[in-house]
Amino acid sequence: MDTATDLYAVLGLEPRASREQVERAYRFCLELYGEGSVATYSLLEPTEAEQQRLRVREAYEVLVDAERRRAYDEGQGFLPPDSAVLAFPVPVSVGAAAELPAVLTGADLRKIREARGMSLRHIAAVTKIGMRFLEYIEEDRFACLPAAVYLRGFLQEYARLVGIDPRRAADAYMSRLPAKG
């Protein structure tokens, strides 16, 4: 979607912006495109600035009105702003460490991850760990996993992101690794 049709982009917002953010962004844009604005007067012709003001006003009028915003969000496939979302990044809960079993399999990790609604691709993007290694971890393909020192680091990053105790999770997973012979 380009900025010409994305009402959130017109105000410089993300689709889940709160009502207060909409208000603040609107006031910001009014100043940005206001007559005599030092930031835009030399960049835009007066007619262009006027067009921008119109777009800003139209976007605001939809996004500030709960009914119209809901209809717009639905049309665009956006989640409503008050829908439940997972905290990002998922905070480590206090009790998480105690709940971890002494042995963790790749399948266990996948279940925990999926319960958080988190994709493997997301973990790869945030941690910069290659998708391939993340898949090997979840598939318990020990032969393909990197050296223990790297694997421990990968597991801890993974655990931190899905909200379980990093050290215990790494220990629990690595306890199943075949001993080096």
Binding site: T3, G12, Q21, R24, A25, R27, F28, E31, L32, S37, V38, A39, T40, Y41, S42, L43, L44
Partner: protein
Amino acid sequence: MALSVSEVLPVAVPRTRRQIWSVGGGKGGIGKSLLAASVGWQLARMGRRVVLVDADLGGANLHTCLGLPTPERTLADFIQHRVSSIEECLTDTPAPGLRLISGAGDLLSAANIKHLQKVRVMNHVRAIDVDVVLIDLGAGTSYNILDFFLLSDVSILAVVPEPTSIENGYRFIKSALYRRLRAAAPTDEVRQLVDSALDPKNSLGIRTPVDLLARVEAEDAEAARVLRREVAGFQPRFVVNEVRDVADVGIGHQLVAACGRHLGLRASYAGFVHHDDSVWQAVRRRRLFMADAPTSRAAEEIRQLTRGLVKGESLGHGY
């Protein structure tokens, strides 16, 4: 002579943590030299080995900002081969870790050093063994100035909250960006399009870098990809100087928004410095306010600004 950035950059530069920072702004009298001197001073306080380079061709006065007499050796001596290395032009300052290469000297007043001289200066500046080389650029949008700005790892764009300064600031940004794009243009046709864009009244209707990219995209998708990468790599950092009220502070956020929306640029707002009487009182005493009035608001803001620049942080989007 036209000079591309790639011509200026030496082929094999050893990777060190050395960085080049520059302070530009397009307009004179907006406090670039004081900003460079004080940021350099603060970087040195933070333990960096810093060399300030006064490239304000024709208006070199960084030494005065630092409370120094006109240095014996200047960049002019290096350009004229009166000294063999640029290190011989280094002048110590009262701040440990901070040294200066002065630009004072009639030779540079023409603001017209030749292509090869400039390449030589740039290569030697890059090779100085310090943590940060901080270049104070002069006013205007001459190729000398733009090339130093484009060469930098951290490109600071100073403005004051006045229409003339901001107008010149945009002109500076556009000139620098088009120069960068011209150097990266993979074909003559694309280079000609960039040249057309330089004329604000061009017949192709290209008024902004966004228009230019759209036009290039229509003619040569691969070239557009190359240019987009160059645009993405150009990230000037605004500093609003001489701020007097909250509205002035907000101008930095507006400039970043305007650059993103209408020039397609990812600029950022590094910080602001309030108008502060202790600054000009220090200037009159020929002392740097960072040393003369360390508890002043301006000094504190410089400290914040410098910390943010070191960490690559910005002030967000302002709403």
